[in-house]
Amino acid sequence: MRHIISILLENEPGALSRVVGLFSQRNFNIESLNVAPTEDETLSRLTVTTVGDDRIVEQITKQLNKLIDVVKLVDLTEGNHIERELMLVKVKALGAQRDEVKRTADIFRAQVVDVAPGVYTVQIAGDAGKLDAFVQAMAPIGILEVARTGVSGIARGDKMLSL
C-alpha cells in the first residue's frame, strides 16, 4: 500500500542525507520526496511517499524515528488527510492545439501561467492521481517537459504534526 509520511526534521546540515540514505541503505522504496522549511526555522518538513506492506512501513517509521535528527513524524495515510502536489507542464501549443490545451486545463482547473511561441506552461495542483490523469490527457497534444514537486500533505481537522 502507498503511505505518505510527514517528518519534522532538525534543520541541520546532513540531516536530509540521513533520511534519504536510510531508504537506500535498508532497501525501502521512495516514490516522491518533498522538503522545505517550516514556520519554525530550526525545523524542516519532509514528506515522503513510499510503497510497502504493513511490516515494511512499520520498519520505515521505526527506523526514521531512530534517526537523531528526526524530531517527529506521522503516517498521514493512517487517518483522514489532505494530499497535494504541484506540477508545471510545458505543452506544445500550435494552432488548434492552443484551444485544446486551454480546454483541458479548464477541465482540470489548471492554469496557463506562461506563454511562448508554440509553447504553453500549465500549472496544476491536486493529489497525485489527478496529476497523473492530467499528464495522460495532455499526452496526445504533446508534452515537452514535466516538473512535479512531489506530494505534500497534512492531516484533516485539528490533528497536527508539531512540537
Binding site: 546532513g14 542525507s17 511490516r55 520498519q59 527506523q63 524515528n65 531512530k66 537523531i68 528526526v70
Partner: protein, 585 residues
C-alpha cells in the same frame, strides 16, 4: 569552567578548541584514547602532550585504535575513545566503526578534518567522513565553531552510551582547534536533545501480558542477547530465570549473561549453537527474547523459525522488534527495568503447568544426553591437536575467568563453544560484522584496563595477519596479552564452506607462505612457543600463563580438517543441523 580566584571572584576559563577537547575528555572521565596523529589532528595532539590526565595509546593502524577502544568498551561498559586524522586516518577507522555499530558498542571517534575553508575542494587528505560513515554510526557531528566543542562532545558521549549504544563520529576541522583562538570552556553537566529520549521503562500492560504467558507456558525458553550485557541486566535476568526454573539460551553476544555452568543454561544458539539450545528453541511454545535481535545467524530460515512458539520480545530499540520475526507481545524498554518489573509480578506465583515443565526438562535433558561425549573426536595418538581440545585446556588453565577475545573463523566458534563463561563481558567477539583482525587489538584495549586479569586472544593465522602490526604497540606500552594462534594453515571457516558447498574446491582458502610466527614474535622481543603435538600443549600453557604481564604467543598447530559443528543446514529451521561430517538431524 568558572574558577574561583584567591579574592573569591569567579573568572571564566578561556581555552583553544584543542585544549577544550583534552579538558573535556578529562572532565568526562575518559581514561584512554586510542589514536594515530596526522596533520589535521596536530593541534589536538599538541593539547594532549601538555596534559597528563588522559592517556593516549599510539596504535600502529587506525583500525586497531577502533578495535582497542571497542574491546575496552565491551569489557568495561564505558564508551571507548578514538582519535584519528582526516582522510586516510579516518577511512582506516571505518571497519572498526562498522564493527562497533553492528554490535551496539558505545564509542566516540574524533576525526581531524581539513580546515573549514578547504572543505569541498578536494584538499589534501580530505574525505567526507561524515558521509562515508553515515550508515554505520548512531549519529555524527561536524564542529562548526570552537565554542560548541564541549556541548557537541557531551552529546556525542551521551548518545554513544545511552539507549541502544553505538559509535558516534565527531568531525573536527583543523581551524576549530587553532591554538590562537580561545573561547569560554564550561563542562556541560546537562544536555537536551529534543528528538532523542530513550525509553526508561516498558509498558506495564504489556509486561503483565508477557508474565501471564510466561506462567502459563508449557515449553518456555529464554533467548537473550547482548542487550542484557550492555543494559546491565545480568543480575535481574539470572534472578528471573532461576525463579521460574526455565531453560535459557543466549546469543554469541549475550554469552555469560547467565552462568553457563548452571543447569538451566543451554549454551548459545544459532548457526553453530548447541544442539540442545537449537532443539529447545524449535520445540518451544514460548520464546522470551530479551535484548536479542533475531538475526539470521540465529534464526536460520525465518519462515520455519519456532513454528509452535508465541514470542515475547523485549528490546530498547523499537526497530529491533518485529523486524525479522513478528513478536506476539512486543515490549519496548530497557532490559533491566522490564525484567525487574517481571520479577515483581512473578513473585509469589508459580508456573501453572508444573507437569508440562517437568516433561519439557526431560526432553531437554534427553537432547543433552544425545550429544554428550560426541561433540568432537579427540585426537588419536600421532594425530594433530584438535582445536576444541586446546580451548578446553585454556579454559581449565584460566579457571574460566579470562577475558577471551577472538578473531573470526572456526577458532572463534570453537572459543565460544568450548570456553565456559560464567560472567558477562568476558567473551569478546565481533558478532554482527564478523571482522577478522578484531581480536588482537581488542585484547590490547582490555588488558590495559584489566592488567591483573588474563586476557587471551584466540585467533587464526589468517586473522592475526590482518592486525599483527600491533605487536609493536604492545611492546611500547608493555601490554601482556596472550595470543593463541590456532594454526590450521588455512582460512578454516572458508575452507569448511568450500568442503560443504563446493565439493572441497579450496579456492584461495589455503595460505602457502605463512611466516615463521616464532621468529616474527621474537623480532618484537616477545616469547613465542610452537606447539605441534598434544604433549607439548600443557607445558606451553604453563609457560604462557606464568606471568600476567608478559605477552606470549602460542603458535598451536591444529588439525586443518576439523569442521565446526553443529551447523545449521541452510534454509532450514533451527533444528536442522549437521552434527558432524557424517550425522545430521
Amino acid at each position: 569552567m568558572a574558577l574561583e580566584t584567591s579574592r573569591g571572584e569567579t573568572t571564566v576559563e578561556l581555552l583553544s578548541g584543542a585544549d577544550m577537547i583534552a579538558r573535556f575528555l578529562k572532565d568526562e572521565g575518559v581514561e584512554y584514547i586510542y589514536g594515530y596523529p596526522g596533520g589535521a589532528a596536530l593541534h589536538i595532539y599538541d593539547a594532549l602532550f601538555r596534559q597528563d590526565d588522559v592517556k593516549h595509546i599510539l596504535v600502529r593502524h587506525e583500525q586497531a585504535a577502533t578495535h582497542a577502544a571497542d574491546g575496552y568498551a565491551r569489557a568495561s561498559g564505558k564508551p571507548g575513545t578514538v582519535l584519528v586524522t582526516s582522510g586516510p586516518g579516518a577511512t582506516n577507522a571505518v571497519t572498526g566503526i562498522a564493527t562497533a555499530y553492528m554490535d551496539s558498542i558505545p564509542m566516540v571517534v574524533l576525526c581531524g578534518q581539513v580546515a573549514s575553508h578547504l572543505i569541498g575542494e578536494d584538499a589534501f587528505q580530505e574525505t567526507d567522513i561524515i558521509g562515508v560513515t553515515r550508515p554505520i554510526v548512531k549519529h555524527s557531528f561536524s564542529i562548526r565553531h570552537p565554542a560548541e566543542i564541549p556541548m557537541v562532545l557531551k552529546k556525542a558521549y551521551y548518545l554513544a552510551a545511552s539507549g541502544r549504544p553505538g559509535p558516534v563520529v565527531v568531525d573536527i576541522p583543523k581551524d576549530m582547534t587553532a591554538p590562537t583562538e580561545r573561547y569560554e570552556y564550561v563542562y556541560p553537566n546537562k544536555i537536551k536533545l529534543r528528538s532523542y529520549s530513550p525509553v526508561t521503562r516498558g509498558h506495564s500492560g504489556q509486561i503483565k501480558k508477557a508474565v501471564e504467558l510466561m506462567l502459563k507456558a508449557r515449553r518456555p525458553v529464554f533467548y537473550t542477547g547482548g542487550g542484557i550485557v550492555t543494559g546491565r541486566a545480568c543480575e535481574p535476568l539470572t534472578d528471573l530465570v532461576r525463579r521460574l526454573g526455565y531453560p535459557i539460551t543466549t546469543t554469541l553476544m549475550g554469552i555469560g549473561a547467565y552462568p553457563q555452568s548452571d543447569r538451566q543454561s543451554l549454551g548459545w544458539l544459532g548457526m553453530h549453537g548447541s544442539y540442545e539450545s537449537n532443539m529447545a528453541m524449535h520445540h518451544a511454545d514460548l520464546i522470551i527474547a530479551i535484548g536479542a535481535r533475531f538475526d539470521d545467524r540465529v534464526t536460520n530460515s525465518t519462515s520455519k523459525f519456532c513454528p509452535t512458539a508465541k514470542i515475547v520480545h523485549v528490546d530498547i530499540d523499537p526497530s529491533s522488534i518485529s523486524k525479522t520475526v513478528r513478536a506476539d507481545v512486543p515490549i519496548v524498554g530497557p532490559a533491566a527495568s522490564v525484567i525487574n518489573e517481571m520479577i515483581s509480578l512473578v513473585q509469589d506465583r508459580e508456573p501453572s503447568n508444573p507437569e508440562a515443565l517437568i516433561e519439557w526438562w526431560q526432553k531437554i535433558d534427553g537432547w543433552r544426553e544425545e550429544r554428550k561425549g560426541k561433540l568432537y573426536e579427540p585426537a588419536e595418538p600421532g594425530e594433530p591437536l584438535k582445536p576444541e581440545q586446546v580451548i578446553e585446556e585454556i579454559c581449565r588453565f584460566t579457571r574460566g575467568e579470562a577475558y577471551v577475545t577472538t578473531d573470526v573463523g572456526q577458532h572463534q566458534m570453537f572459543a565460544g563453544q568450548y570456553y565456559k563463561f560464567d560472567k558477562p563481558n568476558r567473551f569478546i567477539t565481533s558478532g554482527g560484522l564478523g571482522t577478522m583482525g578484531f581480536g588482537f587489538p581488542a585484547a590490547m584495549g582490555i588488558k590495559q584496563s584489566y592488567p591483573k586479569d588474563d586476557v587471551v586472544c584466540v585467533t587464526g593465522e589468517g586473522s592475526f595477519q590482518m592486525m599483527m602490526q600491533e605487536l609493536s604497540t604492545c611492546k611500547q606500552y608493555g601490554i601482556g596479552v596472550k595470543i593463541v594462534n590456532l594454526n590450521n594453515g588455512s582460512l578454516g571457516m572458508v575452507r569448511q564452506w568450500q568442503d560443504l558447498n563446493y565439493k572441497s574446491r579450496h579456492a584461495h582458502s589455503y595460505m602457502e607462505s605463512l611466516p615463521d610466527f616464532q621468529k616474527l614474535i621474537e623480532a618484537y622481543g616477545f616469547t613465542a612457543l610452537r606447539v605441534e603435538s598434544p604433549e607439548e600443549l600443557e607445558p606451553a600453557l604453563e609457560r604462557a600463563f606464568a606471568d600476567k604481564n608478559e605477552l606470549v604467543f602460542l603458535d598451536i598447530y591444529v588439525d586443518p580438517r576439523e569442521h565446526v559443528y553443529p551447523m545449521h543446514v541452510p534454509l532450514g529451521s533451527m533444528r536442522d543441523m549437521l552434527l558432524s561430517k557424517t550425522e545430521r538431524t
